[in-house]
Every structure is written in C-alpha cells, then in structure tokens.
C-alpha cells in the first residue's frame, strides 16, 4: 500500500503526514501537488491523504476553494473506485465541501482557534483506520482548528448512525460525553466520520501529532497501525 499526500497552497501538515507515514510507519509516500491532473499511479489498494492546514488561506469557508483544485476530480474518482481517502482537519473540511463526506465543519462554538489535547471515544472499530483501537479505549489526540464544529441536518443524522459512519466522538478522559468535553460544540460530539462505503475518512483531531514516543503520546499511532493491516 502506498500513499500520496496532496499539497494544496496553504497546506501545512503535509510534511508531518509524510514523516509519520514514511519515516515512522515505513509506507511508500510521496507528495502530490494540487495542480496535478491525474492520480493514475494510485490504484484501489493505495491511499490518498488530504492533510491539515489553511488551503487558500481558508479565506472563504474552510476547504471551499480547495475542492475546486485540479486534483480534486481525481480524488473523487479515486474514492468512487474504492480507494482509501483520509482527510485530517483542513483535509476533512475539504472532503465535506467536495461531497465525499456528509456534513460540514462550522466555526467553533466560542469562535476561537483551539489547539490542545482532547479525548476521543471510538464509535466504529471496524474500519481501515480504527481497527487497532481496543474496545473502550479512550484516545488522547490533539486538535488545532477554528472551524471544527461538525454539523449535519437532523434528517441526515439517523443515516449516519444507522450506517455506522460516526468514527470518533469528543469525550472526557473517562470516556464521558460531558458538555465541557465537546470542545468545539460539534453535533453529538462528532469528531470524525466516514462515508457509507467506509473508504473515505475525515476527522478534526491530528493523529500524526500523537504517533511518536519522542513527543510523549502514541495514541495516534494506533490509527496508522490499523492501515498496516489493510490489504496485507
């Protein structure tokens, strides 16, 4: 399984993803410039990552301009062919804007940028990025965003639960869904979702920032470990 990390103008977590996927995990990984018009070298057994950052400065709505980049129709095609697509933070926002994932990311409830460790409970353990997480295990993974409040219209929420598309929810360190733990005011504490086919993933927390002993936190490593099990 090889990975491509898409670099939009303003992406700033691309190096971090390349470091963790490549140096830490040992995957083949290359950067893909947003002006590329083809993902032909990537087959359904490979993965495409949309990293965090401020694509196009996020001067309109986060991710709203990046979805029109040359590479995006190819990412959509790749996803529709069953390829694994994973968007983190700004990447999640772009995937929502592109319609590959349901819902939108609104400005945080308190209107401020928030960067800190948060706690996550896993809802669906049977996906390509969650299968290494032990049942009931609470993850500590940082967030860093201003627009991370997940929202989806009421009439679409049930489908999300029924199809087991909710991946992670913000909770406290004991796994309780307290109001205070819902750090940005997301609907139902939702921190990450996937598509119906379980091959497109989006999450606001940054697992790549919590994947090394040297940084004092390896909870995020579990998500990358799960990828090792895919197609192996």
């Amino acid at each position: 399984m090889k990975f491509g990390v898409v670099v939009f103008p303003g992406s700033n977590c691309d190096d971090d993803m390349v470091h963790v996927l490549g140096t830490v995990m040992g995957f083949d990984v290359v950067k893909i410039w947003h002006k590329e018009k083809s993902l032909d070298p990537y087959g359904p057994l490979d993965g495409i990552v949309l990293p965090g950052g401020f694509s196009y400065g996020d001067y309109l709505r986060s991710g709203a301009i990046a979805r029109f980049s040359d590479i995006m129709p190819e990412v959509v095609r790749f996803a529709n062919n069953g390829g694994l697509v994973w968007g983190i933070c700004n990447g999640f926002q772009i995937l929502c804007e592109a319609g590959l994932l349901p819902g939108v990311l609104l400005p945080n409830e308190d209107k401020k940028f928030i960067c800190k460790n948060v706690y996550l409970q896993t809802v669906n353990y049977n996906t390509a990025i969650t299968s290494s997480i032990a049942e009931g295990q609470i993850l500590k993974i940082p967030i860093a965003h201003a627009d991370g409040r997940y929202f989806i219209p009421e009439n679409e929420v049930n489908a999300l639960w029924d199809n087991e598309q909710v991946l992670f929810r913000y909770c406290d360190e004991n796994g309780q869904l307290t109001d205070e733990s819902n750090v940005n005011g997301s609907l139902y504490h939702i921190a990450g979702v996937c598509n119906k086919n379980k091959n497109v993933f989006g999450m606001m927390p940054h697992p790549e920032r919590a994947a090394e002993v040297a940084l004092g936190n390896t909870d995020g490593h579990l998500l990358f470990e799960a990828l090792l099990g895919v197609h192996s």
């Binding site: 103008p9 303003g10 700033n12 977590c13 190096d15 971090d16 470091h19 963790v20 140096t23 410039w33 002006k35 965090g52 950052g53 401020f54 196009y56 400065g57 996020d58 001067y59 401020k112 940028f113 928030i114 960067c115 800190k116 460790n117 940082p142 860093a144 201003a146 940054h206 790549e208 920032r209 994947a211 090394e212 040297a214 940084l215 004092g216 936190n217």
Partner: protein, 743 residues
Amino acid sequence: MNKNTEVTVETAGKLGLLPEEFDKIISILGRTPNFTELSIFSVMWSEHCSYKNSIKYLKTLPREGECLLVGAGEENAGLVDIGDGLGCAFKIESHNHPSAIEPYQGAATGVGGIHRDIFTMGARPIAALNSLRFGDLSLPHTQRLVKGVVSGIGGYGNCLGVPTIGGEVYFDPCYNQNILVNAMSIGTVKKGETVSAIADGPGNPVFIVGSATGKDGIHGATFASADLTENSAEDLPAVQVGDPFQEKLLLEASLEAIKTGAIVGMQDMGAAGITCSTSEMSAKSGTGMVIDLDKVPTRQANMQAFEILLSESQERMLIVCKKGEEHKLDAVFDKWDLECAEIGHVTDTGMLEFFQNGERIAHVPSEPLVLGGGAPVYDRSYTRPGYIDQLKDYNSGNTPAPDDLVATLKQLVKLPNLLSKRWIYEQYDSMVRTNTATTNTASDASVIRIKENGKAIAATVDCNSSYVYADPEKGAMIAVAEAARNLVCTGAEPLAVTNNLNFGNPYNEEVYWQFVHAVKGMGNACRKFNTPVTGGNVSFYNQSVINDRVEPINPTPTIGMIGLIHNMDHFTSLSFQNEGDAIIVIGTLRDDINQSEYLKNILGISDSKCPYFELEEEVALQQLIRQIIRTTKVQSVHDIAEGGLFMNLLESCFEHNKGFEINNPGMVRNDIFLLGESQSRVVVSISQEFKNSLTDLLGQNNINFVEVGRVTGSKVRFEDHDLGNISDWKSVYQNHLGQLIES
C-alpha cells in the same frame, strides 16, 4: 507632501530628521536632496533602521563564541551551530507601536516579519515564541488589546504552519497605552545552504517577489521611531496588513528557489521596504542598483515614487539572481502563483538609482544610508534617575505578616502575572511540524526535537521588567540568568541570545541611563554564561503622553535564548511524577520579598529594590543543576521565579495532579519563605531511594539546600495549614485569566 514638494530643513523635520542630519545629507550628496531622496534618508536614518542611539552600546555586548556560524549583525538573524551539519537561525523583533494602534494586524505582521528574517537566510522556521506586555487587565482597553494581539499572533502563525511553542505575558499599568509585542522565530538550515543579503555581481538582475506593493505601512519605520501619543491612531496607514497565506507561499517558494542555485542574494522587505532592502544589499557588496519603479507590481495605480519606495507591504522579498538563470526563478514562483518581477540590475557604481516614467527620480549612494556605513551614530548623555535612590529593601523587618496566610495564598494565585496563560496559548497552534516535546511534558523552557539528529532545541523568552526598573543592571542580569536557568532546568546547554530592548525615549536622559545600565548588565551576564548576543532589535519611544505627562514604560530588555539538549535522555520535566518523592530546594533561602508579586500586587508596595541576585552564585547553581540532571535520578527540576516557592510547587503539581506537603525550615517568616523571589533557587523532586546520591552531590559542592517536604497524591499542606486538594488550585489557575480577559 509629494515629489514636487520643495525640500527645506522644515520638510526634513516633518519626516523626523534633525537639522544636523539634514546638513549631513546635503554634504553627502553635494546638493539639496529632492523629496524622494529625503524620504529615503529619513527612513534609513530612523531609529528603527539605523540604531543611531543604541549602536554604540550594542557593540559592547559579547558578540563572539565558538557556536556562532556567522558574526552578530552580519546576517538578518543569528546563526549557531547545533551539530551534525545543522545551523539554527533565530531572532526576536518588536512590533509594539503597530500593535498598540491596531492589535490584530500589528501582532500578525510582527510574526510575519520575524519569520521572513529567518527564511530569507534559507532556514525553515520551525518554532515561534513571543513576549507580550499589557496594561492593567481590569481596563476594557487592555482586554481588547489582549484579544486582538492573541488572535493576530494565532491568525498569522497558525496559518503559516509554524508552531508557537512558548512565551511570556506580563500585565503592568506602565504598559496601559504602550503594549509590547516581541516575536521570536527559530529556524534550521543545513550548513553551507544559507543565503546572504548581498548584491554581488554587477549586471545581475534584481527581482521583487511575493505580494504586490500597496500604500500600507508608509513611513512605518518613522512611526516606530516616534513617541506614541493619543493622536497616534491617526497614523493608521502606517500600520501594515498581513496575509499569512501569501507568506506561506513565499516561504515555500523562497526555500525552493534557493535549491535551484540561481540566487545570489536575498533579503526580506520589512521596515522601509524597497529602500531598505536595496540599500542594505548593495552596501554590503559595495555595489549599486538601477531600479525601475514602473516594473514593481502595485496594488493600485498612480502610486508616487516615495510611496513605492517606502511601502511596508508585507510578504515581499528582494532577490538578486544569477544572470542567465532567471528562468529557474520564474519557474518556482510561477508554480506557487506568486509575482516575480525583474525590476532592475546590480551596478558597480555604489549608487542607488531609482527611475519612474523614464526619469531618474532618486540618485543616492547606498553606503551612507546604512547602519555600519554612513548612518548617524549618537552618544547620548544620561542621568541617574532620582527614583533609584528612593527604593527600599523589604523583608520581615518592615512588612507585616499576613493575618490569614491561606487567604493570602488564594489571593496570590489569582494574580494575572501568575495565572496560567492557557486562555492565550490554546489559541496558538503549538504542535504543527510534530516536533514540540513540551506538549505532553511540561518544562521550564519550550523544547522542539530536531528530526535530523535526535537532539532538541530548548528556547525561552524572559524579562521581569519590575526588576529592571528597580535596578537596570542587575535586572538585566537576572533576565539573562533566568533564561539560562530555564534552559538548564530542561536539560539543555545554553547557546546564544537574541535581545529585544524595549525602552522609553532615548532623548530622556533618565531613560537613557536605564538603557546604558541594562545593556551593561546584560553584557556581563552573557559573558558569564558564554551566550553571545547574535542580534535582535531595539525599540525606543515606548511611552505614552497622558495629560501632558510623559510616562516611559518599565525598561524591558527581553532575552530570547536558545540552548541544545544534546541527548533527549537529559530532557527534564518540571512536573512532580510520583507520590512520596522528596522535594528539595537548592540554593539559599533569604529574607527578601523585593519586587515580588506578593509585595507589589498584594501588599501594594512598589518602591522596593531588585530582589537578591549574585552572578557568581547563579553560575555555580546552574553548573550544578546540569550535573544533577546528567548524573542523578531527579524526577523534576523547576526554578523559583514569580510567585516564589509556592507558585513553583503548584506549577509542579498540575500536570500529573499531584499535591505536596511541606514545612518551613524556619530560616525566614512563612510568607517570605513561600512568596519571596530572591534568585538562584531551583526545586527538584527525587525518590526517597535515590535521595542520598543527590544530597551527597550537593554537599560535596558546598551549596545550600533544604528538603522541605514530599509529593502527595493530591492533598496540599503547608505546616499545619490544610490547603485542600490540588484540583481546586488547578481550576482557578487554569481558568481565571480567561474570566478576567472576557469579563
């Protein structure tokens, strides 16, 4: 005023030039300058660009050391050797006046500017710190400024993708009108891959890249070199507007362009824009430049020559390219969708020649414009301020013991200078680039690992300006000592310093006395710690005119210091780790509460001397702490600073929700034992099993120490006072500052 304005000594005065400076310009040119030329001299000879009132004393600072890869002042920022073929570029710079007028943009462009200083050298910025000073937090004006500055720093740095890893924030009424925003950037570069700000090779083309040039920030350097008054808000066009997205593109494109090998020299455009970059680059190479201003991409039509020359529009660079390799530059900037315009070429005349509409509108030599060249250098006179001799020593002999110690402690922990700055730093992305080791391990300095060699850089910014006010020489020494101590406590070897000297008006002789003595103390301390000063920034004119009375800020010589953790095994937390561990205070307890937060802000006494400090004692302490970290099994190391031993212990508890029980060994009164801020003291914790190895080492080194108690599960106790559970203290500590700011 426009280009046809007749130039007289009065015109010069309006641009901030003195009559003798105007005469000097005439003698340099051999004629009266036209308005455009006068504008060029006025910005280049402004305090901000020329350091004319400070350079004499800056030259007394230690500027050499084994670790330096370039000499102080030779490049845009200091560059130190961090081993394994890597260099670390770092610098601090102020953006005080713009931030006081327009806090969001002022702070944002301060961040953008300092990062450009780093990547113009070819180094990738990997971390940012900042030192912020605000006025009385109960004032709505202060609250507005805090919110604006913090969102400006975050808005710029977060988007740029450089983590803000640390800093300091102080509140004091002396900054009510004149806040301080000092931003520091740290970058890394492979040795031999740096780029200099030079303009070698007559005939080589000159490019301007990045954003288009607009009318923002014109005369910004002059604005920064004048008193801040209640009318300063009318100078709003002198404040620049930042675009972090453009800066991100410029950062990546610049580093990529360097790799092509086509670049001869590069300099960012900060203060005084095109004027400063063209004159400094050609002066450094002994060359000249012909620049056609019609070729500069502008944001609006009909900009006058002096507006283009003086514009401080952000996110721009001047590049001298190898002739014949222009296409390499074009290709990179085209990829990043950035402007890349050839605007002229290097000459061998030593003259700057600016053209507009085919007409040569300015013709001035580059050398006399620049610092170290012909720019004026002044030696101001100074007078010892009267207040210095009025200050008193405060101790148990002349202060009352508190009636209710517990109430006093609860009051203390709510002081803005002591509260957690969580409300502030959580708005900064502190983790992007995945190097920040202090996210999950609290430590006295901020630590970023270096992926390339397994080592880590520790960095800190420090200055307690109340101490400097009370004794500029000693206070500046303490600022250096505390910075070094913070690095040492994390397990680092202090390497080098960048300084940000924030003072009042240098023409005020008492202010200048503070400046001269602070620089002296700083120099002496830096020599002792073997940490050369690689560069930095001087910001004068920090004062406000209120009801016709001029009030200078506290002298604030902020120290930015970096150090190297050679082996990550030495990286040490400030946090208590295990219940039962012994708590040992290393250093001497003294009957001294001078300039403490307790004395100033609870007892309301402001006329105290500087707290106890002796440089030799501090050096010995730091050497011993380094040895302790390397050779014993200490669990935590944390220096005693603002708020004294009590705040030190609380801060040591929060990360792992531990508590402490301690007793006063009886040398000094309880409140002074807990809250005094006499210097050169460090608290360590260690398991009972390994305690003797530590105390033996301390004994052999003849240093005072005392075991004051032990770490508990969560209970806090002092003598027979039950101080409750650590969670109650933590809740106040973490949340109260946000409540004060948003009240």
